[in-house]
Subunit: 344 residues, 2 copies
Amino acid sequence: MDKSRLQEWKDKRAHRKRSLNHDDLFSGIRSGDLIALSGAITLLESSKPEDQEIAKHLITSCLPFSGNAIRVGITGVPGVGKSTFIESFGQYILAQNKKLAVLAIDPSSEKSGGSILGDKTRMQNLSQAANTFIRPSPAGKSLGGVARKTRESIILCEAAGFDYVLIETVGVGQSETAVQSMVDFFLLLMLAGAGDELQGIKRGIMEMADAIVITKADGENKLNAQKASVQYRNALHLFPANASGWQPQVLTSSALENQNLDKIYQVIASFENQTKINDYFKTKRQDQDRYWLHETITDFLVSNFYNNQKIKSHLTKLEQDIKQGKTTSFAAADVLLDIYFSKK
Amino acid sequence: MDKSRLQEWKDKRAHRKRSLNHDDLFSGIRSGDLIALSGAITLLESSKPEDQEIAKHLITSCLPFSGNAIRVGITGVPGVGKSTFIESFGQYILAQNKKLAVLAIDPSSEKSGGSILGDKTRMQNLSQAANTFIRPSPAGKSLGGVARKTRESIILCEAAGFDYVLIETVGVGQSETAVQSMVDFFLLLMLAGAGDELQGIKRGIMEMADAIVITKADGENKLNAQKASVQYRNALHLFPANASGWQPQVLTSSALENQNLDKIYQVIASFENQTKINDYFKTKRQDQDRYWLHETITDFLVSNFYNNQKIKSHLTKLEQDIKQGKTTSFAAADVLLDIYFSKK
């Protein structure tokens, strides 16, 4: 290795060390440096204790500078055109002089071998645009862990000056509840035609929506999409009102024709405006804080219980007994709790 | 006290003792004796350890003879006419040669000073009918506790030969999820007119329903009720299908005119038939068993945590810190968990 190569390598190592330092990362984030932001998120996704230490410190430092973005959750089954929608809606948001961060939650991403958003080519224009930060779903087996990393990433993004945060998830599982608990506004993408395509959406998700957007409203599908939007509008009117006092809106959209992106943007802005006036915006965020405090605690208590060796060795047998009608769920729970608390 | 009075008193005491004895209660229940059934439920609602001991033993004994009823949850906001509906529907059920048990879940009953169904005069005919057992909601502060007592009561009722169990709850809170997790079929009562009356129903409850019945479909309200039923039918078609493959039904009913009770009965029978053929019936009950096993464990772990004196003394301060943006929910949870597990 000649001298200049060695120096180069030393510089790189020094730079890498510096970039993992709290103060540099913090000032980097605050000045909107995407490399620093990205590095900080990598730290909080790391399982190394020393990385976790810096990440925790960073989040505490960033916290006073967070909270100023509008946080929008976007969900829909695979095939509804989520990436395409985010690609065009994202560009519309940028055109309104907003800085846009796109995050994702997909606890299954590890299993499926590639997280949503992992393939940035699906958002080619957006991923190359200025004032944009796109981050794939953190890997992880537990939804709680993935959700925590995403929520902490929101704090970092906001401290870096991003004022519009989109959080993408797939509308087929538990992660919608997690996303619902970290966003201000929840947008559900649906396909026209109340047929088989809808089977993928989980029950209960529709009632979470602050707006439903019927996608692919172009060409031959335009009329169908409009019909569907009327049907959904009528259906949503039958639903009990949201605590926000907000009546969920239904719109159609075509990413191909960039149709109605302005209206969707306006709907979200109206929601923000209305709920800031009636204080629901603030109340909801406080409720979310409480939710995550208690959710994190419950998560840990439960996983600590089920990871206990004695519990593991008794659980299967007791589950069998329940199935065979030899004992009740309650009696079995009592037995397990006795074991757990007697001598851990 | 003369001799005969003393003897009478001794007999009474002996009788009382005997009636609290496991074997007598068990054979009483199995022979369909309502006094024994009622006494057994009183034992399982008791907080005395010795009563609990007998109750547990009884439930284990009854378990092999349980499971043969159809379990139907009924919910709706106050004013929808739940008691009136159960009064007439219950009599229709009895006329089909079924033995009917009516239970209730209302965790707030202690606070409000009287549980639903507590006032049997609201079901005057039903409460005096043969082959009927009506039991008010057990008192209790925690939903988990109330739900457990109700679920164990179902086992006792089934062992006593009741083959139709209605479980009533008020459609405004968390208890619907609990009821949903112990019934085969979930019936939602609604009023016509998608106006203010609906505000009381909690979001998410509509999507749980296997059938919606629009009540008070008589007199001037008849047309409104029919219109509403069409609207709800259309709306439910837009919903994702239930895992059972069952399409939720919408009917109107008038308890005054005993209208459509036969149809509602038939809908429930079809559901039972269809889901027994496709095995969903059995699968759902097994899922419910698992749910209650894990729910009971989680409930206990969580309440044990929050009742810890050290946790209590730190929680308020940390919640304040979160509210003031000094720390995150996650960091606060970490602190509390450290305290809890370091030296309990």
